[in-house]
């Protein structure tokens, strides 16, 4: 199908880092089943670095590919760097997404932030709330700007 780029199809067919981290240091879940997509991100943190990242996704091909790509982009990176991951960067790394699928990349960005936020909260690490504006909002919000 030429609906998606080869990159999207590759990440969809062979998703990287799919699964669960049983003793995760942070877990983030965004989206909802009613809208047809949920992403769950598990992170393992060591010395401020994302030592391991895993995801589970209920959703369309681009949602699965976006989560897979996002985990690849942040794995092994410092938390501060992972927090700068944008949906645009995810979409670009996938060689683009159809306009009406851009919200899938937004979900990936949110899932990463939600997992890191969970880690900060569990460990009572102070954080800048401004950086997590997106982590707690539902993707039903208008993400027209990103799109």
């Amino acid at each position: 199908m030429s609906l998606y780029s080869e990159k999207v199809m590759d990440h969809f067919r062979n998703p990287r880092n799919v699964g669960v981290i049983e003793d995760a240091d942070g877990v983030g879940e965004v989206g909802n089943a009613k809208c047809g997509d949920i992403m769950k991100m598990y992170i393992k943190v060591k010395d401020g670095i994302l030592a391991d990242v895993k995801f589970e996704t209920f959703g369309c091909g681009s949602a699965i590919a976006s989560s897979s790509m996002a985990t690849e982009m942040i794995k092994g990176k410092p938390l501060s760097e992972a927090l700068t991951l944008t949906n645009k960067a995810v979409a670009e790394a996938l060689d683009g997404l159809p306009a009406y699928k851009m919200h899938c990349s937004v979900l990936a960005e949110q899932a990463v932030q939600a997992a890191i936020l969970d880690y900060y909260k569990r460990n009572n690490i102070p954080y800048d709330e401004e950086k997590f504006r997106c982590a707690s909002c539902s993707h039903e919000h208008d993400h027209g700007e990103e799109e």
Binding site: M9, D37, F58, C60, G61
Partner: protein, 395 residues
């Protein structure tokens, strides 16, 4: 293995239809409106096709208008009856919640123009109740439109009963028979329809051609203004090769219809029985009152688009009522109408078979669909929550 299981979307062109197409395009290239003999030869073919299409439907030749397809035929029937009704002060239209968008969107247009639209509900079996129609058919109703068979879940509607109720009340009755013609026994007089829409590519004819049956005396106004083709009801030079191919395709489909129905419904039942063994799934629509080739399921914990993509990788062409396949946020209105909640409706799969499919193909589907469902469930956080008891199973 390649399995084309999307025959409700479109079918492969029948070889005899292709032959009729090329022969008509090359041998009868004249314009049927032209006075010269080339034109008149083409006109003869056109009228021959009209007579044969009429015969196939139990209609009179002058009651057949050739169109660009089912959507145009639906639109023309609905808008014609509505405009005529409005002139008599009747502005209510009764239809159903599971109609094709060609009907629903035409009704939406009329709603914006001031008509009142009553959409009858369906049961969880995907079938509208004649008793509900009876209650809705008041004196102010100018049209009742009920599809003969549903395109997503294949359920066959009690059109004959509802048409009889309309006839007794002198209310024009339209049926969208796009999925039914060539597959079910369709006779306009047995059904009691005043209008009937059909599309050629659902029974092995070409795309871009269809027909509208409009009973003698039923109001009919053109959607396209122009020349006097189709007795002034549809302007534009007739697509004669496509019309000839459609006629041949319908005759071919009807010549073997009972055998085809028995063969295809046996494949369907084998597929339904096999897929039913997948845990936490459900068949959409009534088990028996459905088209011979229609199989529609919802699988809990997964999403339909990813299901289609993985099946495509396995060589299987299928379809889904998932929101993600249409670019909208809401899943299919048909699945919602039969009571599927959003979470479950997103995980739908439609496989539609015809006489070209084989038992081997069905067995292949029975191997790959459960595999793909399992693959997706294994990466679904929803499925994990369901199996760990954090979320309640619906199916």
């Amino acid at each position: 293995m390649k399995v084309y299981a999307d025959n409700a979307a479109t079918t492969r062109l029948r070889p005899e239809a292709l032959r009729a197409y090329t022969e008509t395009a090359t041998e009868f290239f004249g314009n049927p409106s032209s006075l010269h003999s080339e034109g008149q030869r083409a006109k003869e073919v056109l009228e021959d096709c009209r007579a044969r299409m009429a015969k196939a439907l139990g209609a009179l030749p002058r009651e057949i208008v050739f169109t660009s397809g089912g959507s145009e035929a639906d639109n023309q029937a609905i808008l014609s009856a509505a405009r005529a009704g409005a002139q008599k002060g009747k502005t209510r239209i009764v239809s159903t919640a599971i109609e094709h968008h060609a009907v629903l969107h035409a009704l939406n247009r009329l709603k914006r123009e001031g008509f009142t639209i009553d959409l009858l509900p369906v049961g969880t079996d995907g079938i509208v109740r004649a008793a509900d129609a009876e209650k809705a058919l008041g004196e102010d109703v100018c049209l009742c439109s009920v599809m003969l068979a549903n395109n997503e879940i294949g359920t066959v509607q009690p059109v004959k009963e509802i048409a009889a109720l309309c006839r007794a009340r002198k209310i024009p009755f339209h049926t969208d028979a796009v999925q039914a013609v060539g597959h079910l026994n369709v006779d306009v007089n047995e059904l009691g329809a005043d209008y009937l829409a059909l599309s050629a590519h659902k029974f092995g004819g070409p795309r871009g051609v269809g027909a509208l049956y409009a009973r003698t005396g039923a109001p009919l106004s053109p959607l396209v203004e122009g020349g006097a083709q189709e007795r002034g009801k549809r302007a534009g030079t007739e697509n004669l090769p496509a019309i000839a191919a459609m006629t041949v395709a319908l005759e071919a489909a009807l010549a073997t219809r009972p055998e085809t129905e028995a063969y295809v419904s046996a494949l369907r039942d084998r597929l339904i029985d096999g897929l039913s063994r997948i845990p936490h799934c459900a068949l959409n629509g009534d088990r028996t009152r459905r088209l011979a080739g229609n199989v529609s399921f919802c699988f809990e914990g997964i999403e339909g688009e990813s299901l289609l993509l993985l099946l495509d990788d396995k060589g299987v062409s299928a379809s889904s009522g998932s929101a993600c396949t249409s670019g909208s946020l809401d899943p299919s209105h048909v699945l919602l109408a039969i009571g599927r909640v959003h979470d479950v409706a997103h995980g739908s799969l439609r496989l539609t078979l015809n006489e070209e499919n084989t038992k081997e193909e069905v067995d292949y589907l029975l191997t790959v669909v459960p595999e793909v469902v399992e693959t997706l469930r294994n990466m679904s956080p929803v499925w994990r929550d369901l199996t760990e008891g954090k979320r309640k199973f619906i199916l």
